[in-house]
């Protein structure tokens, strides 16, 4: 088991490393470099050359990558071209803000979707299933920015209880940001829940028809015990990966929703960086996103180990 976990950890590290190589290489392939970016179109070749010399851009790409990656490992992503401030300080602030939304969304979406999925699966083809299935279909087909806009219409304009846009700076204290977190969280949860519910429902139905659940029922156990002890561990296994993919999707989904609400998170930072061609910031965000993605999948694998004793107990299989 320990071998498995360490192998899995190692592959996670390698994946992030590979991602950062690709990100770095992609930035190298863009026309122009940081020097031309900073000085603009009209810069004299001499000025560009001087800046290149000053920023060390004449050195081979491999060396520059090593510099960058060793810095990144220590949390130093270089300096923003626009503000001249260290990238990491701004990034951590925005990441913190995004995490507020992400954690809330995950908590809401995962719990509600598992509950709804199990209910739909257990009441297959009866009214609770029909209601849940219809709602999830709607949730899946409406894009998150439409959901966000509708929410603003309903809860900020018609009944003004929550702020429509956030006016706080990225550095605002968490307490100030909390009211602003609610609407983005709901918007993202609706979409995410829809996907997970459908997966949970299908796998609950499969597992409820399996022989071991039938056996548990025929032992005279109560429905609660049959569902929680016998069915859920197996039913959640396939759901786990869908959850992981959805959490990773959040990284992208959050960018759109943050812009709707003008929320000072990573998503907005990314968009601004793209506008300003702020390459160091882009690189940093790309690598951090990749790391989040990898972490989610790692968590899913470890979760699968917790649910499936076959993965935990090694080779000793009956056949």
């Amino acid at each position: 088991m320990i071998v498995y976990i360490s192998r899995r950890l190692l592959s996670a590290v390698v994946t992030v490393l590979l991602a950062s190589v690709i990100v770095f290489a992609a930035v190298q392939l863009l026309p122009g470099d940081v020097a031309t970016q900073v000085l603009g179109q009209d810069a004299t070749p001499d000025a560009v050359a001087a800046l290149r010399e000053q920023m060390g851009l004449n050195r081979p790409a491999v060396l520059r990558f090593l510099d960058w990656i060793t810095g990144a490992v220590r949390g130093d992503f270089g300096v923003s071209l626009v503000s001249g401030e260290p990238v990491s300080a701004t990034l951590w602030l925005h990441l913190r803000n995004t995490m507020l939304i992400a954690v809330a969304t995950i908590a809401v979406a995962v719990t509600s979707s598992i509950v709804l999925g199990v209910v739909a699966g257990l009441y297959r083809d009866r009214w609770p299933d029909t209601v849940v299935s219809t709602l999830t279909l709607i949730g899946m087909s409406v894009p998150e920015f439409v959901v966000a806009t509708l929410l603003v219409l309903a809860l900020s304009i018609t009944v003004p209880v929550l702020p429509a846009v956030v006016l706080d700076e990225a550095s605002a204290p968490v307490a100030d940001l909390l009211p602003a977190v609610v609407l983005p969280t709901i918007a993202l949860s609706v979409v995410m829940t829809a996907y997970i519910v459908r997966m949970t429902r299908t796998s609950v139905i499969d597992v409820m028809e399996s022989e071991f659940v039938t056996t548990a029922r025929l032992k005279g156990l109560g429905t609660g015990r049959v569902v929680v002890r016998h069915a859920l561990p197996s039913a959640l296994l396939p759901t786990l990966n869908v959850i992981a993919m959805n959490v990773a999707w959040l990284v992208g989904g959050v960018a759109v929703v943050e812009n709707v609400f003008n929320y000072p998170g990573v998503g907005r930072m990314l968009l601004e960086a793209v506008h300003n061609r702020d390459l160091p910031v882009l690189q940093a965000i790309a690598v951090v996103s990749a790391a989040v993605y990898v972490l989610c999948n790692l968590a899913a694998d470890l979760g699968a180990m917790a649910l499936n004793p076959r993965l935990r107990t090694g080779e000793r299989s009956a056949r």
């Binding site: 056996t215 499936n308 107990t313």
Partner: protein
């Protein structure tokens, strides 16, 4: 036993069950009636689709999703099962009746330790945790599981099939039921394990005075266990009688046919059953003495990591010969056969396809028409000319055919792949092959799901024949089929063998089938061949003690003793080192080969330890 109470303990009265399919009701059981007195064992037998499992479920008030009762009653200990509410049902299942399912590997929850699963059945009895643990321990001991302290901490996948079934039995007994429903309790097990599990169930049934309802398709198991037998067909009871009476003088033609279709270990060939149930044994066509060898295995060893699945096997196979590989699960017989078919390369040793063309035009190993070929590599690496010469037929035709492709496609693919038919001719050729396996060519446009199990298996055979093979590896090809269908498929294989001079490697755990179809038998255990020889020599002995054990475990469709007895030929593995085996020359000094005892005529037996468990080292 408490068999003196008034009235039967289990009573099914005119039970009808139907499910809805495409807007119409399909009947799965029609007016089924039978009863079981306290302490009695009643068997419900039938082929697939007979509704026997539906009836078994109904005894516990369980119906499959979409099914409903359309009439009749089920009474268990006076309670009307089908009218019980949720709570009543739970009470019934925790006190009165319990079920042991077909495949314990699927019936145990994979994420729970087996001790916890057994303990759950005790929850309703108001015991303390410590008392429950004690009860679980004693149950585990009762069902004969080794090392109870450790085994309760195991997960199901860490147990063997037989151990899993024992856990399932412990789970059922935990509730101290009056009635035990056994739904095909040993179908997934090999013969030796089956015999032990049946002994256990019979013994426990007597000890606890249980009333048992045994659902099975296996008439040998039924004969071993049941006092009375109910025969079902297409949802209806066709005959019900005492076991002795039913097996001696079946009244209904269907029962007669069913009984006649079961291969008997005494048959010296395949049995053919007429409509009226009379059976004739087909004459075996002997393999000519000068038949050339087509496959030769020398010291083949196959490892799975540190585990040695096949350990130095040397065998030969002649043209037109059926070589049966027998042994318990885990004996390495399937691994060996799959390796021959090219699914896994052996770790060491040689496996060769031998050319039979004496013209001498072929260079060895180039894979030309009739040249030699190396089989010790995976199929992908074999030259096409060699690859198509060895073909595999799988146990489960339903899972080995693509469910979304019509079956003609499955047969056409290898024809095109091996370049054996022009594009324009391939479809016609595929139809011919389908006709060759005695299927209506009109079925060739169907999807596998639209065929019956036997028809699908014929398609699997046609697919294997498409490559014009010289050797066909048949891995438990009739195991999943009903006996009547099995007889027809076996007859087909036998015909193909003589018509096409095919050699078969035939894997089966059913020794009666093996005796019917095989020319030679190799008995495997723990990766070793422990005995090999012509089929009649092996079946008449003398034998290796392990072969003896396998033969003793065979259950015949004939009740043992009057009244459906609980003493069977399989109950005691006694005399496994005595008996005919004692007649073997065991004096090492006089025998030239220290490893094998040669009985002549190709019959050889591996020497064994004094306790009969292992090979002599």
């Amino acid at each position: 036993m408490s068999g003196t109470e008034s009235g039967p303990l289990v009573r099914v009265e005119g039970l009808s069950v139907a499910y809805r399919s495409g807007g119409a009701d399909v009947t799965v059981a029609r007016e089924v009636s039978f009863e079981a007195a306290a302490g009695e064992t009643v068997a419900v037998v039938g082929e697939s689709g007979s509704g026997k499992s539906t009836v078994a479920g109904a005894l516990l008030g369980h119906l499959r999703h979409g099914s409903r009762v359309t009439g009749g009653r089920v009474l268990v200990d006076g309670k009307d099962v089908l009218s019980l509410d949720r709570r009543g049902l739970r009470e019934l299942r925790t006190r009165d009746i319990a079920m042991v399912g077909q495949n314990a590997g699927h019936a145990l929850t994979p994420s729970m330790r087996v001790g916890a699963q057994i303990g759950e059945s005790l929850l309703s009895q108001g015991l303390t945790r410590a008392q429950r643990r004690e009860r679980v321990r004693s149950l585990v001991e009762k069902v004969g599981l080794p090392d109870p302290g450790r085994i309760v901490r195991r997960y199901p996948h860490q147990l063997s099939g037989g151990q899993q079934q024992r856990v399932a039995i412990a789970m059922a007994l935990a509730a101290r039921p009056k009635v035990l429903v056994l739904d095909e309790p040993t179908t997934a097990l090999d013969v030796v394990t089956q015999a032990r599990i049946l002994d256990l169930v019979a013994g426990l049934g007597e000890e606890f005075g249980l009333t048992s309802v045994l659902v099975s398709h296996d008439l040998g198991v039924v004969a071993r266990m049941a006092g009375r037998v109910v025969v079902m067909r297409e949802g209806e009871v066709v005959e019900a009688a005492g076991a002795a009476e039913l097996f001696d003088a079946p009244r209904h033609p269907y029962t007669r046919r069913l009984l006649a279709s079961v291969p008997r270990i005494g048959d010296r060939g395949l049995a053919e059953v007429a409509e009226d149930g009379t059976r004739t044994v087909r004459e075996r066509v002997p393999v000519p003495d000068d038949a050339p060898e087509v496959v030769s295995l020398r010291d083949v060893t196959i490892d799975y990591g540190a585990h040695r699945a096949v350990d130095g096997v040397s065998l030969g196979l002649r043209r037109g010969e059926v070589l049966a590989l027998v042994g318990e699960s885990g004996s390495g017989k399937s691994t060996l056969a799959w390796s021959l078919a090219g699914l896994r390369a052996p770790s060491s040793g040689t496996m060769r396809l031998l050319g039979t063309d004496t013209g001498g035009g072929d260079r060895p190993g180039d894979g030309n028409q009739d040249g030699d070929g190396d089989l010790a590599v995976r199929a992908r690496l074999r030259p096409p000319g060699v690859r198509r010469r060895v073909q595999l037929v799988f146990q489960n035709a339903d899972t080995s055919l693509n469910p979304r492709r019509i079956v003609r496609e499955a047969v056409r693919r290898p024809l095109r792949f091996f370049g054996l038919a022009e594009r324009s001719r391939a479809d016609d050729r595929a139809r011919e092959l389908i006709a060759d396996v005695a299927l209506d060519p009109a079925l060739s446009d169907r999807l596998p799901g639209q065929l019956s199990g036997g028809q699908r298996q014929r398609v699997g055979i046609a697919r294997a024949l498409a490559g014009d093979p010289r050797v066909v590896v048949a891995d438990e090809v009739t195991t999943a089929l009903d006996v009547s269908v099995q007889a027809a498929v076996l007859a087909l294989l036998d015909d193909l063998r003589t018509e096409r001079d095919l050699a078969f490697v035939f894997i089966s755990h059913d020794l009666a089938v093996v005796r019917g179809i095989a020319d030679r038998v190799a008995v495997m255990r723990d990766g070793l061949v422990v005995e090999e020889g012509p089929v009649e020599a092996v079946f008449s002995g003398p034998n290796h003690p392990y072969t003896r054990r396998l033969l003793d475990a065979v259950l015949e469709p004939r009740p043992v003793g009057a009244g459906g007895g609980t003493t069977a030929q399989a109950s005691e593995p006694a005399g496994e080192t005595a008996g005919d085996t004692a007649a073997l020359p065991r004096d090492l000094a006089e025998v030239p080969d220290p490893e094998w005892i040669d009985l002549g005529g190709g019959h050889r037996i591996r020497r064994w330890d004094a306790d009969g468990t292992g090979p002599r080292s």
